[in-house]
Symmetry: C2
Subunit: 457 residues, 2 copies
Amino acid sequence: MFDPVEKLAAFTRFPSVSADPAFQSGMEGARDFIASLLADSGFTVEVVPTPLHPIVLAKRDGDPTWPHVIIYGHYDVQPPDPLNLWQTAPFEPAVRDGRMYGRGAADNKGPLMVHLAAAVKVLRENPDLPLRITFLVEGEEEIGSPSFLPFLQERRRELAADFVLLSDTGSPNAEQIVITTGLRGIVAGEIEVIGPRSDLHSGVHGGAVYNPIQALAELCAGLHGPDGRVNVPGFYDAVLGVEDWEREELSRLGVSKETYRAFLGVNGFFKNDGYSPFELVRFQPTLEFNGIFGGYQGEGSKTVIPSRAGAKFSCRLVPDQDPIVIVELLEKTLRERCPPEVELRLRFGHRGAPYLVVPPGRSNTPADQPPTLARAFATAERAVARQFGKPPLFLREGGSVPIIADFKRELGLDSLMIGLFLPEDNLHAPNESFHLGVMAKGIEVSASILRSVAGAD
Amino acid sequence: MFDPVEKLAAFTRFPSVSADPAFQSGMEGARDFIASLLADSGFTVEVVPTPLHPIVLAKRDGDPTWPHVIIYGHYDVQPPDPLNLWQTAPFEPAVRDGRMYGRGAADNKGPLMVHLAAAVKVLRENPDLPLRITFLVEGEEEIGSPSFLPFLQERRRELAADFVLLSDTGSPNAEQIVITTGLRGIVAGEIEVIGPRSDLHSGVHGGAVYNPIQALAELCAGLHGPDGRVNVPGFYDAVLGVEDWEREELSRLGVSKETYRAFLGVNGFFKNDGYSPFELVRFQPTLEFNGIFGGYQGEGSKTVIPSRAGAKFSCRLVPDQDPIVIVELLEKTLRERCPPEVELRLRFGHRGAPYLVVPPGRSNTPADQPPTLARAFATAERAVARQFGKPPLFLREGGSVPIIADFKRELGLDSLMIGLFLPEDNLHAPNESFHLGVMAKGIEVSASILRSVAGAD
């Protein structure tokens, strides 16, 4: 008997923190656990080495004409700090009030267990189900999935499939499930402005040199126009319009601006250029400053002209912005604007493409999608309505999960992302937990999808 | 026999670091030393308590009709760190190549000893010299002279004098002495911009809020106009014009722009609005950013929208800008410009007024100055020419010595500032030293001034 709650507790017990080498044995334990569980459930398991944390690949093969679903998850978790804020120890899972507490219970061990339990269930019901299933469980999601793209490229042939099914996104509450239809891409960078060869006395030399903080402030301030839009020529050229159905879905989210404003703790929202804040975070690209630094930062004052100053920023990109093009535009614009009296150094860090899937039947300009995907979306919509009492909302999300765009670009695969996290799950924070009611309903939804894709509903 | 070099070595041996309580006994040692030396030289010494480091007040009284010169100096020094960069220990004074090495040898023990040796010399030559001299030697100069103004106010009556004589400013080289005719004032402040109640995920919420770093960058960038001038309405209203004689003196400085540019290590000078860089640092006010901070500053990237960001700045003021008015203008301008979506916090720190003395006979619009001051300036000019081979340049300086403005405002006293520091003296840096040739010549110049003021030249 496969008890998903008991399996989740056992899985959560392994401290599989990918970011910290001290947790190596926890990583191994979680990996062995999920590999064994998949093998015991009838899958052919391969543990694929990577430069860092191996990927668990588990297949139910079959006739090549059968549909093929890839189920994605990750066995690594965020660090548990600060430990003193946990009510029970992060790696001693405990059930309280219908929730399983523990680091990774929600992100992503619980949702992964949902789909595994669903697969076990449908295959027990129908051992001859005409469906190929591949579980792909990585161990580097919390550190940016550095081994994932090379893995996809290497295994391109055997990962040919109909679509990807996963739950690594959120929903607003336990009654309203969101199926995520889009993710923003990302480009991270750093601007550094270098002035005099060393810090200078601001009395003796003040007025003679271009203060690097001033040049930096001018460059940063110039990156947005008075309308709040990113002021980089060409930045919006590839941005797709928002379709009416997307705005309609969003209008059903049921959160007021005032509630959101109070949650953020701000006096008002950013300049909106005609978009609501809910639309801005989902449909529009951004350039946000993440950090700024330079000169004296201690108590009181120190009257220096600093030698250098810098700022970190990241852009969130929307379909069809290309991270490579955006980097080129930023570089060109900043170099053109930097005053010649100072030196500009630019560094660009990680980048990921945006992603968008149009749920079949929603758009006026239907995409060319495999019928299996259309069937999976339709089944998901009905099954969510049946299990949770309300149909799901199909919404884009503001965050970035670059592997979803990688699946699309490298393998041509769209993703069906069923949001099983709730705001109270405390992802990446102390007292992370997973809602066991959502878990049980999620298993039924996932089972319905698998059956339907196999033509067995 | 008063050997000034030997006395300077003994004085420099005391580690009189005012900023660090660990050096308390060094402070006491230096204070006792200079007090005893003044007493042994015939002065009536009083050690005046302050909340921190006492002031040494030493008088040669006399007939109230005699001229009265105040000689200012300080017995405290900068911290000696980093110790490993000193060729010989900072508090074990050593003579090499005609220089006395040691922390405080130049700033300000050597120059103070110059004037003390000069006073001893002229009084030995003429014990009946009709001149009142008051030495005023403080111990808090390197920490901003917090006790100085209250002391001046308290002792206003007995400090009624003709002028102040001091050497706490610099000259470009051992042949070209500068007599400093002006100092810039200062206003230090900090801008803080507060946005959301905590750091936010830049994917989930990016686009909805006014990023505090962006608001800060806009505020900072807006504080200068495209011409490089400070863009605060009213900022320049009280700025006095520069007289022709000042530009002429400056043109004789003999440093090329190219030399200065290479020294600063910049590609070019700041926007000049018609002023040369040498003029900008002396004749024009500034607003310089001293530090900036906010959000993530570590390696790589962290995609947060920070809750707050801040910048430290300081303005250098020129005659007749009033620090109190400038603070009001800055506060008003920043509050008006800050977008309402974020909260602005402003803090203002230390402030000091600018200072200007017109050397008698130079200006077309002569000031109302005591004849003693005129005589002192004229004698200084001749004595410097005789001792150093070239007449001094009368120049304003870009730095701030707020006590000089305090002397003027509280007691109506102008200052005769004879620059005895050279660039190679390494003030505030490792291997500080004082040029013993400059010292010997300086004693003769000071002696000439004292004699002349007493009518005995």
